[in-house]
């Protein structure tokens, strides 16, 4: 590389870093004060792009029209953020953290469909910035003037934020709340107003980040989850709650990505390596490195110890009678149901194991995973590829696939168990996103965006009813096994570690070792679910490993209720069935699902099973 091309890549990277910084700073700010990981933050970014596009069309492509549109779009997105805070989040600040998360997922679904309804499914290519569409010549290379402006905007916003946070009363409150929210509340500060205003500012930043991208990137419906993954990486690298850290990390990651794209394809020792396809991998490597050296990010501080949460309730062992009655019922269904129902039930059985494995790790083991689909998807792909590319018999592929998923869990888990809380959750999401990008980009092996076709079971399993029984046996065994493990010494040690890591260490428990083993165990079983699912569908698409799939899993667990064992199964059944029904009737199934989830979150903050149990208990009390 010549000096000139290095400079170009550097400038490219800095330009890309600007939006990344804005979005991440907003995310960090909101998290710092409200302790809510706002998944919908990526949706706000997406709305920023769409909003800017429409407003430019409306105002006309003049400099005033363009900049007016960008600013108005950002402010409008800020109002959307306020709406989310007031209508949804404000009502559940006292609910468990995970429920708030579920609510923001629901908002993602709703916003995606609002965008689909308003702007359609086509990518919308925005205009170049009027007056800045020329290029500037630097060292013989042409750089878009707009990129130079973006490079300047990053530090300007950083400086403004810094002034806002250090020189105003509002900023002092935000900083105080970031350190100790309860204390600020105790001092008589109106928390509702503070939270709303923080949501507004954070959302404006997301919207601005999106709107500024309009000349560089077409508005499309996939941006919401794509940018949230990037923003998570940036906040984790920079340190949660640190605006300066977000800036530094955005630059590091933006520049590293630009260099990867700039390097392009290189041949080393006869191997062709396409660096432009490795951008996500590089992002991940940076994050992994930072987390190993500085677990709280470059400029982050160790999270303040959270005040004692409500202790998790004791789990109840499902009785054998209970399990057998249900198994018998499920075994009888195909005798009376039609083919369609049998296929739907097969799906439900697969997702039930997926959901139970996720519950195992996030409930009793206390490690929330935002990227559980990684193992489901890897299991599915491993099954398909072992059969199609390596010529293994279907049965062997099906049984080996969980081991492959487990192998990945060994690697990913090694990093993950070093972290806890939100950092852990974000790292799991990043791993899932890496896996997705590898699958998506490795065309020759995985079929890229098309996926793998013709993944059908052997002849003796080809009948849908027979395959349903296979799924029921395998996934049912997986679920029973996981439940059993929860009541074993190993499972108790995990619960003990969740309750008090300090005490666990003080009585000789190697908590990380246990957590790592748990990670591998659930990874393998999620892989089994994925493999069974793959053969039931006959094809595998990258969506099986996507963030959307991960969030589906979280929704299933949280919908059913994280505090009961049967909750995740009920959640998987209801979610899968509901999605099927809704998707058959409307194009906008996501919005309907999102609406239903929001309703449940607001009505049953303990999940469906937990909520029903509470209702039954109250009813009994009244009768007694």
């Amino acid at each position: 590389m010549t000096l000139a091309s290095i400079l170009i890549q550097l400038l490219n990277g800095l330009a890309a870093a600007a939006s990344l910084f804005l979005v991440s700073a907003g995310l960090s700010l909101i998290f710092g004060v409200t302790r809510i990981v706002n998944f919908a933050h990526g949706s706000l970014y997406m709305l920023g792009l769409y909003g800017a596009y429409s407003l430019i069309e409306f105002f006309g492509r003049t400099p005033l029209g363009f900049w007016g549109a960008v600013v108005l779009a950002a402010l409008a997105v800020g109002l959307v953020g306020v709406l989310i805070e007031v209508l949804v989040l404000r009502r559940i600040y006292r609910a468990p953290e995970l429920f708030q998360l579920l609510a923001t997922f629901a908002v993602v679904l709703v916003i995606k469909d609002i965008a689909l309804f308003t702007w359609g499914a086509e990518d919308l290519v925005g205009p170049r910035a009027p007056g800045l569409s020329m290029a500037v010549e630097i060292m013989g290379r042409r750089i878009p003037a707009y990129d130079l402006l973006l490079i300047a905007i990053g530090p300007v916003v950083l400086a403004l934020l810094w002034l806002l946070l250090t020189r105003t009363r509002w900023g002092a409150l935000v900083r105080a709340a970031t350190q100790d929210r309860e204390m600020v509340g105790a001092l008589g500060v109106d928390q509702a107003k503070l939270f709303t205003s923080v949501f507004f500012v954070g959302s404006v930043l997301a919207g601005l980040g999106g709107a500024l991208q309009i000349p560089r990137e077409p508005a499309n419906l996939e941006l919401d989850l794509a940018i949230i993954a990037d923003a998570f990486v940036v906040t984790v690298v920079g340190g949660l709650g640190s605006i300066g850290g977000a800036f530094l990390a955005a630059i590091i990651i933006g520049v590293a990505k630009a260099f990867c794209i700039g390097i392009g394809t290189v041949t080393w020792f006869g191997f062709e390596i396409s660096f432009s396809k490795l951008t996500l991998v590089v992002e991940f490597l940076i994050m992994a490195l930072v987390l190993v050296v500085r677990p709280y990010g470059l400029l982050g501080k160790p999270q303040a110890a959270q005040r004692a949460a409500e202790p998790a309730p004791r789990l109840q062992v499902p009785s054998w009678t209970f399990a057998l009655v249900w198994l018998a019922l499920l075994a009888l269904v195909p005798l009376v149901a039609d083919r369609y129902t049998t296929i739907l039930l097969t799906d439900i059985v697969c997702f039930a194991l997926f959901s139970v494995s996720l519950h195992f790790i996030m409930g009793p083991a206390g490690m929330v995973s935002f990227g559980h689909a990684a193992y489901f998807g890897i299991g599915a792909y491993a099954a398909g590829l072992l059969m199609k590319r390596f010529g293994l018999p279907m049965e062997a592929a099906l049984l080996l696939a969980p081991l492959v998923a487990g192998l990945f869990a060994i690697v990913y888990g090694w990093f993950c168990v070093r972290l806890s809380g939100v950092y852990l959750a974000m790292l799991t999401l990043a791993f899932a996103q890496i896996s997705w990008s590898i699958v998506f980009q490795w065309d020759s092996m995985t079929g890229g965006s098309n996926g793998v076709f013709g993944v059908w079971p052997s002849a003796w399993l080809a009948d849908k009813t027979t395959y349903y029984y296979l799924a029921l046996v395998l996934c049912g065994a997986g679920i029973v096994f996981l439940w059993r493990v929860l009541f074993s010494p190993f499972g108790y040690a995990l619960r003990a570690g969740r309750d008090s890591p300090l005490r666990a260490e003080a009585i000789g428990i190697d908590l990380r070792g246990f957590q790592w083993a748990a990670f591998v165990l659930v990874g393998a079983l999620a892989g089994l679910a994925g493999a069974v699912y793959a053969f039931s569908k006959g094809s595998i698409s990258p969506s099986s490993i996507s963030i959307a799939q991960s969030t589906d899993g979280l929704i299933m667990v949280l919908l059913g209720g994280v505090e009961t064992l049967t909750g995740p199964v009920v959640g998987a059944a209801i979610f899968t069935w509901l999605r099927d029904v809704v998707a058959r009737n409307t194009e906008f199934w996501r919005a309907v699902m999102g609406g239903v989830i929001l309703l449940i979150v607001l009505l049953f903050p303990q999940g469906l099973v937990g909520g029903l149990k509470a209702l039954v208990a109250r009813w009994r009390e009244q009768r007694a």
């Binding site: 409500e310 998790a312 493990v485 108790y492 005490r503 000789g508």
Partner: protein, 249 residues
């Protein structure tokens, strides 16, 4: 003379130029209750955390029954026979009182790695015996998360005794308890320690507890040991009076 269990020599720790603990040496014998006292910021916690493996001293020697334990992780130190209670109780809130103690017993026996056996099937009798000793047997079925604070302290004591420790490290064992409960808990500790020949090192703010329960007392001020001896000796020591009463004479 009872054998020395814990031997500390020339312990040093500085945080960014501030000498938190300087040249601290002392020893605890089997069956002995040694109180480590001193005003706030004297370095008691720093000292404690160097003994239990949470901090590594800059220099100095910590020997447990003759074995150097500097640099070992807390869980390794536990395996060598050190039980701990915390200033703010740390128990497993979602497990029952009995299960809390069983957890320590399972860990001590190296039996936590089993995936398929039922937890709780073993060590029930041992757990109940320990709970009986601390007076918590009648609450064995209750979930730790709902216990009163004083009861949690007793559970912690039972957990700490589960690995048949040679040494008990108790950081502010009676903090947050009612005065009456405090003396009761430390009387119980002293009784158990003597019966089982366990060395006990504890920090404590309540001087009634210290002077009534400790066999010996050492006094830390600004990172340095300024006095040591039996309760009457320490009570009469002018240095101690100066530190606690604020006047030199």
């Amino acid at each position: 003379m009872s054998p020395t269990i814990l031997q500390v020599e020339g312990l040093h720790k500085a945080f960014g130029g501030v000498q938190a603990v300087a040249d601290v040496s002392f020893a605890v014998s089997a069956g002995e209750m040694l109180a480590l006292i001193g005003p706030n910021g004297a370095g008691k916690s720093t000292c404690f955390n160097m003994l239990n493996g949470q901090l590594t001293p800059d220099s100095g020697i910590v020997r447990l029954e003759g074995r150097d334990i500097v640099g070992l992780r807390p869980r390794a130190i536990w395996r060598l026979g050190v039980g701990r209670t915390f200033q703010i109780t740390a128990t497993f809130a979602s497990l029952s009182v009995r299960e809390n103690v069983q957890m320590a017993l399972y860990s001590h026996a190296g039996r936590l790695r089993s995936l398929l056996s039922r937890f709780g099937a073993a060590f029930g009798g041992e757990a109940d015996a320990l709970l009986d000793q601390v007076g918590m047997l009648d609450q064995a079925e209750r979930t730790c998360g709902v216990l009163a604070y004083g009861d949690l302290k007793r559970v912690e004591l039972a957990i700490a005794l589960a690995n048949e420790p040679r040494l008990l490290l108790m950081d502010e064992p009676t903090a947050g308890m009612a005065p009456k409960e405090r003396v009761a808990l430390m009387e119980l500790t002293a009784r158990l320690a003597r019966a089982r020949n366990i060395a006990v090192l504890f920090t404590e703010h309540d001087m009634d507890v210290v002077f009534s329960q400790a066999d010996r007392i050492i006094v830390l001020d600004r990172g340095v040991l300024i006095a040591g001896g039996t309760p009457p000796e320490v009570r009469a020591n002018p240095n101690v009076r100066a530190v606690y009463l604020g006047s030199a004479h």
